[in-house]
């Protein structure tokens, strides 16, 4: 059964006024349990509004959202329960930290669930481990940490609620390449260890290609595509027309293919590209060497 399902989901800002704007337009989606999905799209394409529907922060203007097959707005008083089930990490989450110590801040979510002290302690330590925070950091004030570490604390604060679905809105915005790879790597590890569903909103096609299994492309408030990475990136031209470039390395291989070089066009990461090129060179070498000998 799909863990997230939407039916004709539509959301309109400032409905009825001259400033009316459709942010999410008739979205029908089914996301399966255990998938790692990358959500890509332009600024203003409706990504952020869409994901805020999944944990009930935004109420749809029309249409339905189902989590685990249950309509989340069936009982509006129960909406807090959904927020524990679907954890959402906002953009620049480090600005939400407020407690005296990192430990207490991570414990905020679990405390809101109403768990026992032992349970909270276990979850805080587990979440800190997932994002690579040291024991000693837990007793520090979140305000004396570096930007990257603050972000880890904020992500841990959501992971500690043990959500069935984890959604991250641009978790790497404003980080250096090293910090970016580290955080995404940890998210991937978390996904593999917990076997739960993870959604990552990103601007970077490279990141989505490298870490995700599926990609959801939003364009002008609609879902343009929702498919495996291979199938999504085979639509190079449509994506480029939207201003969403496929990974650079994919473009190189597509160009090579267009020039008559026999390469696999489904190359999305630099590592895979290297393998493919080495294979090509080896074949070339064999042919050349063979020809010389003959």
């Amino acid at each position: 059964m799909s863990v997230i399902k939407t039916e004709h989901l539509t959301y309109t800002y400032n409905g009825g006024s001259p400033f009316e704007k459709v942010a999410v337009d008739d979205v029908n989606l089914e996301i399966e349990q255990g998938e790692l999905v990358g959500i890509i799209g332009h600024t203003g394409s409706g990504k952020s509004t869409l994901i805020q529907h999944f944990n009930g922060l935004v109420k749809p203007t029309a249409g339905k959202v189902y989590i685990d097959g249950r309509d989340i707005w069936e009982n509006p008083k129960d909406i807090r329960r959904i927020r524990f089930q679907v954890g959402l990490v906002f953009q620049y989450p480090e600005y939400q930290l407020f407690e005296e110590t990192v430990y207490k801040d991570i414990a905020y979510g679990p405390t809101n669930i109403g768990l026992s002290k032992e349970e909270i302690d276990e979850r805080v330590r587990e979440a800190a481990m997932f994002v690579g925070l040291r024991e000693s950091t837990l007793e520090k004030s979140p305000f004396e940490l570096s930007g990257g570490q603050k972000r880890r604390v904020a992500i841990a604060g959501v992971i500690a609620m043990r959500p069935e679905v984890l959604i991250l809105d641009e978790p790497t915005a404003g980080l250096d390449p090293k910090g970016r790879d580290k955080i995404l790597g940890q998210i991937k590890q978390y996904h593999e260890a917990q076997k739960n569903t993870v959604l990552i909103v990103s601007h970077s096609m490279e990141d989505v290609a490298k870490y995700c299994q599926k990609a959801l492309v939003m364009n002008q408030s609609k879902v343009f595509l929702y498919d495996t990475i291979e199938n999504v990136f085979s639509h190079t031209e449509e994506l480029s027309a939207m201003g969403l470039a496929v990974p650079q390395v994919t473009r190189i291989f597509h160009a090579l293919g267009a020039r008559g070089v026999e390469v696999n066009p489904d190359i999305f990461t630099v590592e895979a590209g290297r393998e493919e090129l080495l294979k090509l060179l080896a074949a070339h070498h064999v042919r050349k060497g063979g020809a010389a000998r003959a």
Binding site: Q52, R83, Q96, F98, N112
Partner: protein, 270 residues
């Protein structure tokens, strides 16, 4: 959402009143208030009301907006009217136990109600036709003589401008933080008063932290552009008096003079 609250009540337009010098508009607004309090009979109030209606017609601000500005003061108007009606001595028209309504009471009540309504509608027109930034600019220039007695006029105006500039930013920020904490299970909507106040701590602390951070960044950015206070500072937009400002000043003066003359020649209401 919080974002939907409008800050300031500027109603954009291109009328002569919108284009007037903000200093003149502030001065005329004060003069108008004085006029309302000088008026002592029905004719005087007639002038006051006519002045207001004419100003609204010229400004092109719809009458609906004027009514909107009056909404919050309805309780005050009702309260003063009732008080005046029952507690002013005069010839009783109606009596029941200790409660009585007198002719003087009624006229006083009507007068006070008109005064308050005109006062609010008039000052609202100032804020409807003047954007907050222009308004602080005008205030700064008007108060500049106070610099002689060491009142930091420029600094005050700059503070006001910056505060106005950051209100929408902070509202947006509050919205974001509230959503982020709600996503962590914060319950901001239910519970008793004390619980609700406690639930706001996770919103207020990050908000303060980011407000301080923004202030720091802004100060740095201003210093980078060599800001060093108001001394010797020139402006891109110079305030200038035009024909329309002179005309409106004359009209206002004539109206006030008229009200005073009417006071002398016509018997006051009480």
């Amino acid at each position: 959402m919080l974002k939907d609250i409008t800050i300031g009540q500027y109603y954009p337009g291109k009328s002569p009143i919108h284009h007037m010098d903000p200093r003149m508009k502030i001065v005329i607004t004060f003069a108008y208030i004085v006029m309302l309090f000088v008026a002592k009979n029905a004719w005087g109030f007639g002038v006051g009301i006519a002045f207001l209606i004419a100003a609204y017609l010229i400004s092109g601000v719809p009458g609906k907006m004027a009514l909107k500005s009056l909404k919050p003061i309805i309780p005050i108007v009702v309260f003063t009217t009732v008080l005046n009606m029952f507690f002013i001595d005069g010839n009783p028209l109606w009596q029941w136990g200790f409660l009585k309504i007198t002719d003087k009471g009624i006229s006083m009540a009507i007068m006070m109600a008109i005064r308050i309504v005109c006062l609010i509608a008039g000052t609202s027109l100032l804020t409807y036709t003047t954007s907050p930034i222009v308004l602080t600019d005008g205030l700064e220039r008007l108060m500049s003589p106070l610099k002689r007695i060491k009142v930091p006029v420029h600094e005050l105006a700059m503070m006001m401008t910056i505060a106005l500039r950051f209100i929408p930013t902070l509202i947006e920020e509050t919205d974001k933080i509230m959503n982020a904490q709600k996503a962590r299970g914060a319950d901001l909507e239910s519970g008793k008063l004390l619980q609700r106040v406690k639930a706001l701590i996770p919103v207020l602390i990050p908000l303060f932290v980011s407000a301080f951070r923004r202030a720091d960044e802004l100060a740095l950015a201003m210093e980078c552009r060599c800001y060093r206070g108001g001394e010797g500072r020139t402006r891109m937009k110079q305030l200038k008096m035009h024909g329309r400002d002179v005309v409106s000043a004359l009209v206002t003066t004539v109206c006030i003079a008229g009200v005073i003359v009417l006071n002398i020649f016509i018997r006051p209401i009480f």
